[in-house]
Structure formats: structure tokens, C-alpha cells
């Protein structure tokens, strides 16, 4: 296929060539173990420290508050389980939302089986968590609040600063899963009173298999992996030096271009949203219209099913994703779409398109022109659409 329009940047991104270039010497030349004494290897310790500084700088954090992990999922697992363990004496209550990533939700389920209690906050029809509801859920035994910075499916950006303020006022730790938001939108851990933050390299044109957990100094949290002094003994194991270098480079590049990229992506995003909204009937934009990641577009198209839509888009060289059950391997559609109140059949017909800064208006036109045809074609063979049309004719 000659044409390829990649609209699944929330799933993963292309590793930037500059990132790969920065990583390569750490496989074949500077391959030494950073823990070794001789200069050839121990120089890598400095290299790692440098990446920590770059990342900390972007977050307004200190370098020794950045702990490298194997990615966002590990960071989320660590933040929750290690906090739960360390603060068990204070209490066993955790507050989160219904629209978190499964890395959070399944870890919460794991903790629930081990005697912890979890409050899952509802969200409004745009996926926003109400800070007042967070405050109302806090109990004397609440040890942690974990609310995502921005949702991976519908792109809604949560009121993190307000929630952080509440958490701080009540002396409860605050973790945010910023996998989709970090280096895409500005985040300052002090301004938002964030105590812990998860991020991943491959969502920002960095390599896969590397991420980090920011842990504010003073937060009592258990070690996650045992067996060495790496990451201040909290996450043992020989450092993934090429990965760390790649992550540092990706963060450096992303931070330098953030403002420009946000403006550009927002413009293209809004053009895509407006064309679909105007030209395809019976659709709904999922997620908040303005409090939204610059690269996220999520629509539900009534009377059709998402996987069919994805296959047909794929035939036109368009890569996207859906919250339909068929794409998740279960019978239920996305928990996020259900949490914002969509009925099952409408949740099944969802389409997520997450763009990058290289997307042009011409690409949008190609996507919308094809999408219009595909939606019409799938509706023409949908019994739900047939019933809907007949009902309308009857009512006229």
C-alpha cells in the first residue's frame, strides 16, 4: 500500500530518527554497566544523570525524583502497590476514576483482593472528574488519589491542579498517570501538587520499553524491584542505558517543540472535528471539546460497529483505533465510553484518531472523504440503520 496515514499516536509513536541516533552508540560502543568502577563503564552513570536532569527540568522536579522504569504500565503498578503497602498503617482507602487506564484499574482490583478499598469516581458526559467529588470521597483512611492527567481514549484533560490542591490540603498523596499528556501539554509537578507521575517513552517519539515514575522527595514508597542499588535501590536491575538515552532525547525534543506542536496539532484536530461534525450525520464527539489533548479526536457513529470501520479504513491506508468490544477481545465496549454514559451500541461505533504534527489538512481531507463513504456503506448494510430510517418515515 502506498498511502499510509497513521492516526494511532496514542497507541504508540514513531521513534524519532534523532532519538535512534542518540541511542545507537550505547549498544555497541558505550555498552558498559553503569555500576562498574572503571571509567569506560562508569561514564554511563553521568549519561543517565544527565537524562534525569532533562526530564526533571521539563516537570519542574529535581533530578533525584525521577526513577526510570520499563514504561507507563510499570510506573502505574509501582505507584499504586508500593504506596498501598507503605501507607497501610494509615489506611487502606484509594480514590481513582472510572476512566483510568487498565494499568490503574487492574492494579486497584488487585489491591481490592488484598483488603484495600477503592472509590471509583464517576465522570461527566465529557469525561471530566469533578474535584468536589474527589474531596467528598476523602476519608480519614484515604492514602492515595490517582487521577489520570489526560484520558487515552477520549483525550479529556482532567482538572489536575484543582485535584492536587485538594489532595495536598487533606494530606493525601496524589498520583497522576500522565502517559498521554507528558511532553504533549505543559505539566509542572509543584504547581499541580503532584506527588507521583507516570510517563512512557514511546508515546512521545521515544523508544518502547522505557518510562519513568516521578516520586516527590519525602514520599514514603516501597522499593518495587529488589536486587541492586540502581534507582536509589527502589527499582533494581542494570539500567536500560540506550532506552534512558532515547527517552532523554525524546523528552528534550518534545519539550523544545511543545508550544509549536500544540498549536499545529490543535488546528488540524479542530479542522478534523469540524469536518466530521458537519459532514457525517448521527455522530457524536466523545470527550471535552476544549479541555482536550491537542492530538485526540474521538467520534461515535451511530448504527455501525467499530471494527468494521477500522478494517475499511485500513484498506484505504488509514490506521486508527476503536473502543468497540470486537477490538478489545471482550463482549463489552470501552469502559471509558460507557463511563461517559454512551449506550453500548453507540460505544461500539467509536473511532479514535490520534494525530501527530506531520498531519496536514490534505491528509484530513483524504481521511474525511473516505470516512464519509465508509460510514454510509456500513450504514446501508446495518439493520439498526434500517429500523431507524423506517421509524423516521413512519413518523413523517
Amino acid at each position: 500500500m502506498d498511502k499510509l496515514i497513521y492516526l494511532d499516536n496514542a497507541a504508540t509513536t514513531r521513534t524519532a530518527p534523532e532519538v535512534v541516533e542518540a541511542m545507537l552508540p550505547y549498544f555497541t560502543e558505550h555498552y558498559g554497566n553503569p555500576s562498574s568502577v572503571y571509567g569506560f563503564a562508569s561514564a554511563n552513570k553521568e549519561v543517565i544523570a544527565k537524562q534525569r536532569e532533562i526530564i526533571a527540568g521539563v516537570l519542574g522536579a529535581k533530578a533525584n525524583e525521577i526513577y526510570f522504569t520499563a514504561g507507563g504500565t510499570e510506573s502505574d503498578n509501582w505507584a499504586l502497590t508500593a504506596t498501598a503497602e507503605a501507607y497501610a498503617e494509615k489506611g487502606k482507602h484509594i480514590i481513582t476514576s472510572r476512566i483510568e487506564h487498565h494499568a490503574i484499574l487492574h492494579t486497584c482490583a488487585y489491591l481490592e483482593k488484598r483488603g484495600y478499598e477503592v472509590t471509583y469516581l464517576d465522570v461527566d458526559e465529557n469525561g471530566l472528574v469533578d474535584p468536589a467529588a474527589v474531596e467528598a470521597a476523602i476519608r480519614p483512611d484515604t492514602i492515595l488519589i490517582s487521577i489520570m492527567f489526560a484520558n487515552n481514549e477520549i483525550g479529556t484533560i482532567e482538572p489536575i491542579a484543582e485535584i492536587g490542591k485538594i489532595a495536598r490540603a487533606h494530606g493525601v498523596l496524589f498520583h497522576t498517570d500522565a502517559v498521554q499528556a507528558f511532553a504533549h501539554v505543559p505539566i509542572n509537578v509543584d504547581e499541580c501538587n503532584i506527588d507521583m507521575l507516570s510517563a512512557s517513552g514511546h508515546k512521545l517519539n521515544g523508544p518502547k520499553g522505557i518510562g519513568f515514575l516521578y516520586i516527590r522527595k519525602g514520599v514514603k514508597i516501597r522499593s518495587f524491584i529488589h536486587g541492586g542499588a540502581q534507582e536509589r535501590k527502589r527499582r533494581a536491575g542494570t539500567e536500560n542505558v540506550p532506552g534512558i538515552v532515547g527517552l532523554g532525547k525524546a523528552v528534550e525534543l518534545a519539550a523544545a517543540s511543545m508550544k509549536e506542536r500544540m498549536d499545529r496539532e490543535t488546528e488540524i484536530r479542530d479542522y478534523l472535528i469540524s469536518r466530521i461534525g458537519k459532514e457525517i450525520p448521527y455522530c457524536r464527539l466523545n470527550g471535552d471539546r476544549t479541555k482536550r489533548l491537542p492530538n485526540n479526536v474521538n467520534f461515535s457513529f451511530r448504527f455501525i460497529e467499530g471494527e468494521s470501520l477500522l478494517i475499511m479504513l485500513d484498506m484505504k491506508g488509514i490506521c486508527a483505533s476503536s473502543g468497540s468490544a470486537c477490538t478489545s477481545g471482550s463482549l463489552d465496549p470501552s469502559h471509558v465510553l460507557l463511563a461517559i454514559g454512551l449506550p453500548h451500541e453507540i460505544a461500539h461505533g467509536s473511532l479514535r484518531m490520534t494525530l501527530d504534527e506531520e498531519m496536514t489538512k490534505e491528509d484530513v481531507d483524504y481521511v474525511v472523504d473516505n470516512l464519509k463513504e465508509i460510514v454510509a456503506q456500513l450504514r446501508s448494510m446495518s439493520p439498526l440503520y434500517e429500523d431507524f430510517v423506517k421509524k423516521q418515515e413512519k413518523n413523517q
Binding site: E305, E307, S308, H344, E345, P383, L384
Partner: protein, 147 residues
């Protein structure tokens, strides 16, 4: 993930549409689970299926199994159509991924539902035909989750 035949029947579905005053119509599935199939049968006085059409809301496999099922029953007698099982549909498509086997069950169910409607309307009994379930997913066990 899908075989060439599944992709072919998904991209070029056979017998899509409706039949006005059909001899039998069957709709099965559940929008909640993400698939609904409707089959229209035109059956003559010799109980031969002269024409068949379908409409499906569902994934690629749901569309392909509906399309294949209509191909397999077209021109057959109602009794022969009873032999078009989900297994036959799957085999004709060179197989389906395990998570999509329920789509072929749905296709069999849709044919049966349309035949049942025809039999009811005409006071005929078709051997081996049972009243269709309204929801194919009934009785299915929930996926076990481990933590």
C-alpha cells in the same frame, strides 16, 4: 487476523439488502454485544429458497459470516438449509479467529430465525428447527479475569 475468504466476504459482501414481503425474516443478536444480523428469505411453494438477503451490524467476521451463510442457503430447500451450521459457515470461510466463533453461531441462528418465521407464517413444521433464542449470548460464561 482474518483469512482471505473472510476479507473477501467482508469487502464484497454477497446478498446485502432487504426483501419486501419476505417469506421469512429473522433478526438475532444484541446491539449491546456489538452484533445484530437480520436475514430475509424468499421461499417458493416447493420450499426452495429462491432469494436471500441480509443486513448486519457488527465486526468484519459478523459481516463475512452473514454473507457466507446467505450464499450457502441460496437455492437450497428449507430442509437442506438446516444443514448450514456454524461449522459449515466457518469451514467455507477457511476458519475464524477463536474470539469470532460466536459470529458464525449468530449466522446459523439468523438463518434458523428466518426459517422459523417462515414456518410460523405458513403453519409448517421444519424438522430439527427450534424456536430461536432472542439473544445468542445467553448462557455464555463470563470471561474469567485474573489478578
Amino acid at each position: 487476523m482474518y483469512t482471505e475468504k473472510v476479507m473477501d466476504h467482508f469487502q464484497h459482501p454477497r446478498n446485502v439488502g432487504e426483501i419486501e414481503n419476505a417469506s421469512g425474516v429473522g433478526t438475532v443478536g444484541n446491539a449491546k454485544c456489538g452484533d445484530i444480523m437480520r436475514i430475509y428469505l424468499d421461499i417458493d411453494e416447493d420450499q426452495i429458497i429462491r432469494d436471500v438477503k441480509f443486513k448486519t451490524f457488527g465486526c468484519g467476521a459478523a459481516v463475512a459470516t452473514s454473507s457466507m451463510a446467505t450464499e450457502l442457503v441460496k437455492g437450497k430447500s428449507v430442509q437442506e438449509a438446516m444443514e448450514v451450521t456454524n461449522k459449515a459457515v466457518m469451514e467455507a470461510l477457511d476458519g475464524l479467529p477463536p474470539v469470532k466463533v460466536h459470529c458464525s453461531l449468530l449466522a446459523e441462528e439468523a438463518i434458523h430465525a428466518a426459517l422459523w418465521d417462515y414456518a410460523e407464517k405458513n403453519g409448517i413444521k421444519i424438522e430439527g428447527l427450534e424456536k430461536p433464542k432472542s439473544d445468542i449470548h445467553e448462557g455464555e460464561e463470563e470471561e474469567e479475569e485474573e489478578y
